[in-house]
Symmetry: D2
Subunit: 401 residues, 4 copies
């Protein structure tokens, strides 16, 4: 939105949102925030995460006469709130969220209050910032820096914060559950300049690389990151291993992140246009190539082949997390099991597929050491141990037609 239009907006509360659709399709009608009319007045919502019982709840709500305007799981929460006869938006939200299972970091708003809510497991991050007299809520703390606001603290798992003219209040109205913040935020998803779950992201990533250097050393001439996903882990690896760090691959800044691009054909083309080898860094060298994860294996295979064509003598791929073997049901848009190469191939098979001279992943122990809180994470994508059970049917089947 242009500056001029922003300036014209009145009022003291607002929500903005960018969500890569994980449930329901990417259509205008699913664009958040949603703004609706209810018995509690106008209510707006923005949601980061993924509900696990949305299909069942929606069927139930429709049976009771609800009208759905989108295919998003988020709308289910609005209906549950609208149905509550609690006297306040926050009480209605408590009542609504008692019925919901899954991952949700929510920002809810009516004309008077701004609520920040994290599910009891705390899968996704949500943090509180401060700008002059006002409070802000953001998925990632780096948003505060852009606004020259200050990071105050994380919203805790299960916490409801309520911001209004009186200031900020806090409550934990839902039954407590063992926290399970998403470990993949640290590995890949969060912005490196954010604080997530009490840790600074780029620091964690360098630590992942340092531990990877300990676990999987190799004799080499240069450590090269896959830009931009591997740069912090690669720097940590280089520092840990005492091998020079260098930019053997240059990224074209006109293209976005590979992982979240919606269409296969674009993603494929994306890689080609995006990365350029630097022959002077690679030629005749034994290269440690560092990335955060391997999803399908096709991108890594292309990069390895590109480095070889640019003269690399040996290519040792190092991945700063364990093999990604299970899909995420809590809001990261990973592909299905079938598409995850590590769910059906051994490390040696993957190495052969991507044609690296060696391949090593960080151990699960290493991962937990780096993030610093041994027990408290959801690492289902690596372990298959899902903190909240998910339904057998595909959760992404919310449809209007």
């Amino acid at each position: 939105m242009r500056a001029a239009r922003l300036r014209r907006l009145a009022g003291s509360l607002a929500i903005g949102h960018v969500r890569y659709s994980t449930t329901g399709s990417s259509q205008l009608k699913n664009a958040q925030p949603f703004l609706v009319g209810t018995r509690h007045g106008a209510v707006a919502i923005a949601h980061n995460g993924n509900l696990l019982n949305a299909v069942a709840l929606r069927a139930e709500l429709e049976a009771q006469g609800a009208v759905f305007s989108s295919t998003s799981d988020t709308e289910v929460i609005l209906h549950l709130i609208a149905r509550s006869n609690a006297g306040s938006l926050i009480d209605a939200a408590v009542e609504a969220l008692h019925q919901v299972r899954g991952a949700y970091s929510l920002v809810l708003m009516n004309e008077h209050q701004l609520l920040g809510i994290r599910d009891p497991r705390g899968f996704r991050p949500l943090s509180v910032g401060r700008l002059k007299d006002g409070y802000l809520l953001a998925s990632e703390s780096c948003a505060f820096d852009l606004l020259e606001a200050t990071f105050v603290r994380d919203v805790e798992p299960g916490e409801f914060v309520c911001i209004d003219r009186e200031g900020l209040r806090s409550a934990f109205p839902l039954p407590a559950e063992p926290p399970a913040p998403c470990i993949f935020e640290h590995v890949y998803f969060a912005r490196p300049d954010s604080h997530v779950f009490g840790q600074q992201v780029s620091r964690v990533r360098k630590e992942l690389g340092r531990l990877l250097a300990e676990e999987a050393p190799v004799e080499a001439d240069v450590v090269v990151p896959v830009p931009d996903s591997g740069i912090y882990a690669a720097l940590g690896y280089a520092q840990g291993a005492g091998i020079p760090y260098d930019y053997g691959i240059v990224r074209n800044h006109y293209v976005g992140r590979t992982f979240i691009e919606p269409q296969k054909s674009i993603r494929h083309f994306g890689v080609k246009i995006k990365l350029n080898p630097v022959r002077e860094v690679l030629e005749g060298r034994r290269v440690v190539l560092v990335d955060d994860s391997i999803v399908r294996g096709t991108t890594s295979r292309k990069i390895v082949s590109m480095l070889r064509a640019a003269g690399a003598r040996e290519i040792h791929m190092r991945i700063s997390s364990p093999p990604t073997t299970w899909p995420c049901y809590y809001g990261i848009d990973t592909p299905t099991r079938r598409e995850l190469i590590a769910s059906s191939h051994t490390v040696e098979e993957i190495r052969r597929y991507i044609q690296a001279d060696s391949l090593a992943y960080l151990s699960h122990q290493g991962l937990l050491r780096a993030v610093g809180k041994g027990e408290g994470y959801c690492a289902a994508c690596f372990t298959g141990v899902y903190p909240v059970p998910f339904p057998v049917e595909d959760v992404s089947q919310l449809r209007l037609l």
Copy 2:
């Protein structure tokens, strides 16, 4: 929508809609048709008319937990349908419309059926057409001509027609009420090439002019229509009076109809850019200037002054309907009483305001003679006799915020 996109659409049922918003504001979220998910599956709706108890119904529905995504009265109908536990869309619609008062010609659709519904008074038109094996529903029959479909018949007041693979069925499930089709459709609103309420519109308009010539003759040299609203009545006047018909005003086709343009400033400018006098037709002549109605009087005043500047010797304004004194609550976007010049001024005062040499309106009797069914019309805008009571509060106050 471009031809290529239309061709790609699958399926055998569809709704399109253009509605000038009369209740709720003109925003994207109020654009029809609406498509929502309900217990009856996906339901789409398009609505011509205006509900009178929408504010109360919406308040009630919200109190019961409904979530509203728009500010349109039409959404109320969708919620009533969604709440019905009737076994079919048509039965749910019957149940829903029992609770609704006001003017509605509806097209409703689910995956299997297309419903056409007219309220028991039949305020707004709705007609059935046929194209090859298929049926069509349209507000005005002229839409069929464009598609080379044929006009079959009007949907009757209170009738529900149901179109599906079996063909077309009809029912009258709501309590019958005396029909009250909108007489102003004939005077101004409908397209001249349509059939509305069993009459051909342009024929009715010429008849209005012919009767006006009988009721309010004048010695003159030429009959000049205000384009395009007055051309049929002017032609009828000319034929009835035996005075030559001629184009003394030319309309710039780049500009739309004055009456329905949303913003005052545009409408004002609209008139200036829209009409050009033809001096050769006007100079030294005694002109009968014919239009369908006078709303605020400002447009007529400008036209009279324009004709005088172009040399007209006398200007006798003739209006092919009675003075418009009351606002419409049934779907025509007339201004409030305060803005209707005839609600507070006599004919002579209006004449003086618009600066015509004489001014005459068609009588109510004349109007009824021309439309051909003496009793069966809603003429509330002329008489103040409203067939369906409307609430005291402003019906246009549906708001989200």
Copy 3:
């Protein structure tokens, strides 16, 4: 351009232009006005007409080192001006136009002066208007009415008018030639509310209809115009013949004029979507159908068939100009001879093709009587007598590649 942007423009001289490309293709680079830098400073030009020796001149200019940025014949004039070492823009224009043959009504501008120029034959119109202290130039006088400016007079054939801070001066610097204003402006091209070549257009068109009624009477019940091209001639015919005038065809205002739409497929579809028959006017009637001309015959054939389907008992087509047998090289975008049905078919053959009960054209004498100046017109499209010879090669072959 939006009002806000217009208001921000500085300065006291300006040119705007809409030209249907007749030579060179319809590309952005051919959009007028052109603004270029020359030894005479910045020069802008807008051109209505068509040059006949543009291909030869351009070849010559290129041989002398000229750089052409467009495929338009208009750019040739700019180069001739730029090459002139005359001391003023007007003298340079005189020098340039000595070398040019063909049809041109030009508006030329530098930082100080606005020139209006009509070629010695005066093929295309150009008129002078006045708004407060300022002068205006426009192809058609109706533009002045929209701006509430007043029509002052036509620029004469061969006249150069120069408008600057001193006011308006006039000169006739080119060798005089017999004037040949385009008769087809009166028949079809000009807007009905304009004055063109000293005549009011809608008046001329009614006169064409009146003379047509004299020349080609027929017993009938109703005179129906093809909207909008035939309405004035039809009104004249009805008045002359004493047969009632009525609207048997209604035009959909969302679609533009048929003649000038650029693509065949659109034009074809255009007719279907554009015209609707009014059964009540046509059914059982003997209809005089009036239009201004028949080009390919396909449109007339479709209209006749549409009227028959709507119940017309007889259809007598009357055309308010002689058969169009020759293409125009002076700026009207008529099709080639091969596509003009009248160039290869007799009137009776055309009647059979369009399936009318009778068909008559206005005579050449009739046409000249209506426009009022027996000798002084170019009627090449009807007679094949071209006032300015045109080259054998296709004049529309200006190309960059």
Copy 4:
């Protein structure tokens, strides 16, 4: 351009171009490539660089009757070519470029040939690539990688390469002059993955950092690059100094490069939105902050202040080139002398302005050692020694109005 449109294009020769306008304003009419019609047929041109005698040549050409369609210096070349009566495009180009002084890497094309031309000084780069059977020309070799083409060689200063169906030929038709390729391409302008003037850019930049560490060592805890302009020099500095390299500033990828953004207000805002400090890397540390150059000083001042606010204990700024004291007239869009902080301030004054604890620039000797060819560069922006004299008047004054 979308893939589908690209696929539809016919032919075997093409030019695309992105040029930040340095002479003439940034308007659509100045967008390159230009395509014009001339005696040599259609000619297209794309130009990297800046002509020094364009104003004088244009005045001369206008006096001879030339018509200019843009305000770009590039158009002057087209006119000189069009005026040449040489028998081929290449001979015409030779004749034209004899008259031109300044910096130009050109791609010229007619229907049969593609020419690549570098001015005798070779200010700007131009290289030849190969894709299957075809040749490519590009300003920077990294473009070839994106297309999976191979880099063949640089076009040499003063060289004309001609590509057609026969293959590639080469000539040196202009008087030889001492080469003066732009040293600033290596410092900042070129993409890091390109080969420019025989050197790999990222390698040169690391060498600049390494030499800077030798020349201006400092005791510190971490070397932090200003992203992205300083990352290679910072890496070289870190390697040279044996101090850990780390990312203390994270760049928001949604925003482009600071240097070339056209409007001041945007640039200012750009810095704020673009860079985020990473407190964990900075807090309590002695930081070496590395960038490629200081232009106005405002950006550096903001970054230093941002690092201090994030806890940096000491900030030692190191610049991998000498102070930028003179504007460039050969195609880099540097500000005027008055805006270049180093043209009027000593290093110590600049240090005080940006509020760093220490500040050092690379020496001119160091710069020359890193680029590897002691004599052969234009370093006018650092030395004020301009290889080609420029006119006293502002060269950026090409205007239409």
